[in-house]
C-alpha cells in the first residue's frame, strides 16, 4: 500500500488537490454564512474563467492553433443552455434542469466546435485565427438579431436562477472535471500525438498520426467546455446578452492563456483566477475615469510581460534571473548530467560577429597576446 502511494507522481495531481481544497474551504465558509453574495459571484466568475482558459489552452497551447473565437462557443452554450433551462425549469425543477442544460449547452457548442475544426484542417495559423474570429462574430450577430420570443434579441435572454450557495461549488466541480479531462487527454498517448502535431505537423503526419482526428477531437472537447462555461455564465448572471461575447472577450481569455504560459495548464488556472479577481476587485475601487486607468495598466503589463518573456535579445537575462534559478540557489547542486566531453548544444553560438573575428586576427602585436602576457608576469 505504502509503496503504491509512493509511486504516485504527486505533482501530477497537485492542481486537483489545490482546487479541491479551495472549493472545500469556500464551501464550508459559505455554509457557515461567512461569504457575502458578492464573494460567491466572484467565485463563480473565477470558475468560469478557469474553465474557459483551460479549454482554450488545449487548442492554443497544446494543438498550437490560434483560436480567437472562444467567446463564440461560450455564447452558443450560454444561449442554448439558457434557453433549455427556461423551457425545462417549470417541468423538471431546479437541479435536473441545471444538469441537463449544462450538457445540452456543452453538446451544441461541441458540435459547432467540430464544424469549426473542419476548416482548421485546411487552414493554417493566422488564417484559422481570422476564421474563428469571424465565427464568433457570426454567432453573436445571429443571437443578437433573433426574435424576442426565441432568444431575446438585443434585449438579451432572461435565464433561471439557481441557489447561489451551491452554484459556485458546482462551478468548481466543473473546473475539476475540465481539468481531469484535459490533463488525462494531454498526458495520454493521444496528448503526445497532439503536441507532436503542434511541434511539426508534417513530421507528425509522416509518423502515422491521424492529424484530422486529433484536430477535430481537440476542437470538440475545447468547445464543449467553453459551452458549459457559457451555461454557467447564464446561471450566474440570470441574463445572457450577446454584447458580452464579442471578440474582445475571446482575446481576454487568450490573454489568460498566454500570461499563464503556453501549454501550461497550472499557469492558465492561476492567470485566469488572478485576472478575474483583480478585474472584479478593481471595478469596485476604480470608478469613472479611473476605470480606464485599469485598462491602460493592463495593456502596459501585457505588452511588457510578453516582450520580457519572448524577446530573443533578453534570453540570457531571463535564463539568469528566472524563478527556477532563484529556487535553485537554495537547493544542493545536483551532479551535472553533462559529461565533460559532451557539447552543450544550447550554448553553441549561432551568429559569429565578423568584426570580432577580424579584430582578433589583425591585432597580432596587441599587448594581450599570450606570450607577451607571460613575459610581463615574469
Amino acid at each position: 500500500m505504502m509503496t503504491k502511494l509512493k509511486n504516485i507522481k504527486w505533482n501530477h495531481y497537485a492542481n486537483y488537490i489545490v482546487v479541491a481544497a479551495f472549493t472545500l474551504i469556500f464551501a464550508i465558509l459559505s455554509l457557515t454564512g461567512f461569504l457575502e453574495s458578492s464573494d460567491k459571484y466572484l467565485l463563480e466568475k473565477i470558475a468560469i474563467a478557469i474553465t474557459l482558459a483551460v479549454s482554450l489552452s488545449m487548442v492554443v497551447g497544446f494543438l498550437g492553433e490560434l483560436s480567437l473565437g472562444h467567446a463564440g462557443f461560450m455564447c452558443i452554450g450560454a444561449y442554448i443552455g439558457g434557453k433549455t433551462a427556461v423551457v425545462l425549469e417549470p417541468v423538471l425543477g431546479e437541479a435536473p434542469t441545471l444538469l441537463i442544460s449544462l450538457l445540452v449547452g456543452g453538446a451544441v457548442a461541441a458540435v459547432f466546435g467540430m464544424i469549426i475544426g473542419l476548416p482548421a484542417l485546411r487552414l493554417r495559423g493566422d488564417y484559422l485565427a481570422i476564421v474563428t474570429l469571424a465565427f464568433g462574430e457570426i454567432v453573436r450577430s445571429i443571437f443578437m438579431n433573433s426574435s424576442r420570443e426565441s432568444f431575446g434579441g438585443s434585449l438579451g435572454l432572461d435565464t433561471p436562477r439557481f441557489n447561489k450557495d451551491v452554484l459556485f461549488i458546482i462551478a468548481f466541480v466543473i473546473v475539476l472535471a475540465c481539468l481531469a479531462v484535459t490533463q488525462n487527454l494531454i498526458r495520454s498517448k493521444h496528448g503526445r500525438a497532439i503536441t507532436a502535431i503542434r511541434d511539426n505537423e508534417i513530421a507528425a503526419r509522416a509518423t502515422g498520426i491521424d492529424v484530422t482526428k486529433y484536430k477535430l477531437l481537440v476542437f470538440t472537447v475545447s468547445s464543449f467546455f467553453a459551452g458549459i462555461a457559457g451555461v454557467l455564465y447564464s446561471y450566474s448572471n440570470f441574463t445572457v446578452q450577446s454584447t458580452k461575447f464579442s471578440y474582445n472577450y475571446s482575446i481576454e481569455i487568450l490573454v489568460m492563456v498566454v500570461l499563464g504560459g503556453m501549454g501550461n495548464i497550472n499557469g492558465s488556472i492561476i492567470a485566469a483566477a488572478l485576472i478575474t479577481f483583480l478585474d472584479v476587485e478593481l471595478q469596485t475601487i476604480l470608478t469613472g475615469n479611473l476605470a480606464v486607468l485599469q485598462d491602460l495598466i493592463y495593456a502596459l503589463i501585457l505588452i511588457v510581460l510578453v516582450i520580457y518573456n519572448n524577446a530573443p535579445a533578453l534570453k540570457p537575462f531571463r535564463e539568469k534571473h528566472n524563478l527556477k534559478a532563484f529556487i535553485g540557489k537554495f537547493r544542493k547542486p545536483e551532479p551535472s548530467k553533462h559529461r565533460d566531453d559532451e557539447a552543450k548544444w544550447d550554448r553553441v553560438p549561432t551568429k559569429i560577429k565578423m568584426d570580432e573575428v577580424l579584430s582578433v586576427d589583425l591585432q597580432v602585436s596587441s599587448p594581450y597576446t599570450p606570450d607577451k602576457a607571460e613575459k610581463e608576469e615574469k
Binding site: 476564421v131 462574430e137 490573454v255 505588452i303
Partner: protein, 290 residues
C-alpha cells in the same frame, strides 16, 4: 437607379476598407505579423483630425497633421513593441499587438472621455446627376482611394524601396544578404500603413461624424477580413477584397430581411472563400517544407 446609388456607396465604403486593408496586408507581407493595433491607429488618426480641426478649422491642414503624427505613432509602436520581438513566436507578437490596441483605446478614452465627439469636416451635400443623388463624400473617398492605391502600386513596383519591400516579403534572409536593410524596410512599411490609416480615419469621419475610442475596432476587423479574402500579403488582393466587402455590405443593407445580419454575411463570405481557396482569392500557395 437606386441600385447604382447603392453600388457607388458600396464602392466608396469598399475603398475605405481597401485603404485600411492595405495597411494590414503590407505589414503582414513584410513583417509576417497580424498588426491588431492597426484599427486603433485609424481611431487615433480620427482624434488627431478632430483636435487639429478644432485648432485650425482647415480640413487639409488637419489631414496633413494627422497623417504625419500617425506615421510617427506607427513607427514608434513598431520600434518599442514589435521590434524587440523579431524572431519570437508569431503568437507573442500577436498578443503584443493586442496589448498595443488596448493601450491606444484606453489612452484615447482617458484623454478624450468616453462620450463620442462630433466632427464636422465640411458641409458637402449631395450631388444630383442624371436622376442620381450621390453624397459628395463618397466621391471624394472613392477618388482619394483610387489615387492612393495607384500611387502605392507604382511605388512598390518602380522605386528602389518598393522593390526592396517585395524582396523582403519574398525572403527576408536573402534580401538581407542582397544588402537590403530589413529593419528600415519594415519601418517604412509601418509608416506607410499608419499614414493610410489616417486617411481612412478621415473617410470614416466624413461618412459619420461621431468619433469614439472604438471607431477603428470593427472597421479594422472587417478590413482585415477583406485582406484575408483577397489573399493576405498581396496588395491587389487587399484592394479587391476591400471593394468586394464594401459592395456586399452596401447591397446587404438595402435588402430588409437580411440587413441586420450584414456583419454575419460578410464573415460568412470570408469562411466560404477560405474553404474554397485557403490562401484567399489572389494569395499565393506556398508549399510547406519540413
Amino acid at each position: 437607379m437606386e441600385f447604382i446609388e447603392t453600388l457607388i456607396n458600396g464602392l466608396s465604403m469598399g475603398s475605405t476598407y481597401a485603404v485600411i486593408a492595405l495597411g494590414y496586408t503590407m505589414v503582414y507581407g513584410i513583417a509576417k505579423m497580424l498588426n491588431f493595433a492597426h484599427g486603433d491607429v485609424i481611431m487615433v488618426g480620427g482624434y488627431l483630425i478632430y483636435v487639429s480641426m478644432v485648432a485650425t478649422k482647415n480640413p487639409f491642414i488637419a489631414l496633413g497633421a494627422a497623417v504625419v503624427l500617425c506615421i510617427l505613432l506607427g513607427v514608434t509602436i513598431e520600434k518599442i513593441a514589435y521590434k524587440p520581438l523579431r524572431g519570437a513566436s508569431p503568437l507573442a507578437v500577436l498578443i503584443t499587438a493586442i496589448g498595443v490596441s488596448y493601450l491606444l483605446q484606453s489612452s484615447a478614452q482617458m484623454i478624450f472621455g468616453s462620450a463620442p465627439k462630433m466632427v464636422n469636416i465640411a458641409e458637402l451635400g449631395n450631388l444630383k446627376f442624371a436622376g442620381l443623388s450621390i453624397p459628395v463624400y463618397t466621391l471624394i473617398t472613392l477618388g482619394c482611394s483610387v489615387i492612393i492605391m495607384t500611387a502605392l502600386s507604382i511605388f512598390v513596383k518602380y522605386t528602389k524601396t518598393g522593390r526592396a519591400m517585395i524582396a523582403v516579403s519574398e525572403d527576408k534572409g536573402a534580401a538581407q544578404l542582397m544588402g537590403i536593410n530589413v529593419n528600415r524596410i519594415i519601418m517604412i512599411t509601418f509608416a506607410i500603413g499608419s499614414g493610410l490609416a489616417a486617411f481612412a480615419g478621415l473617410f470614416m469621419l466624413m461618412k459619420s461624424p461621431s468619433l469614439s475610442n472604438t471607431l477603428g475596432a470593427m472597421p479594422g476587423i472587417k478590413a482585415f477580413t477583406a485582406a484575408v479574402i483577397g489573399g493576405i500579403g498581396s496588395i491587389p488582393g487587399a484592394m479587391l477584397g476591400g471593394i468586394l466587402m464594401g459592395v456586399v455590405e452596401a447591397v446587404s443593407y438595402t435588402i430588409p430581411p437580411i440587413a441586420p445580419y450584414t456583419d454575419a454575411i460578410e464573415f460568412m463570405l470570408l469562411i466560404v472563400i477560405l474553404l474554397v481557396r485557403p490562401t484567399g482569392i489572389l494569395g499565393k500557395k506556398r508549399r510547406e517544407k519540413v
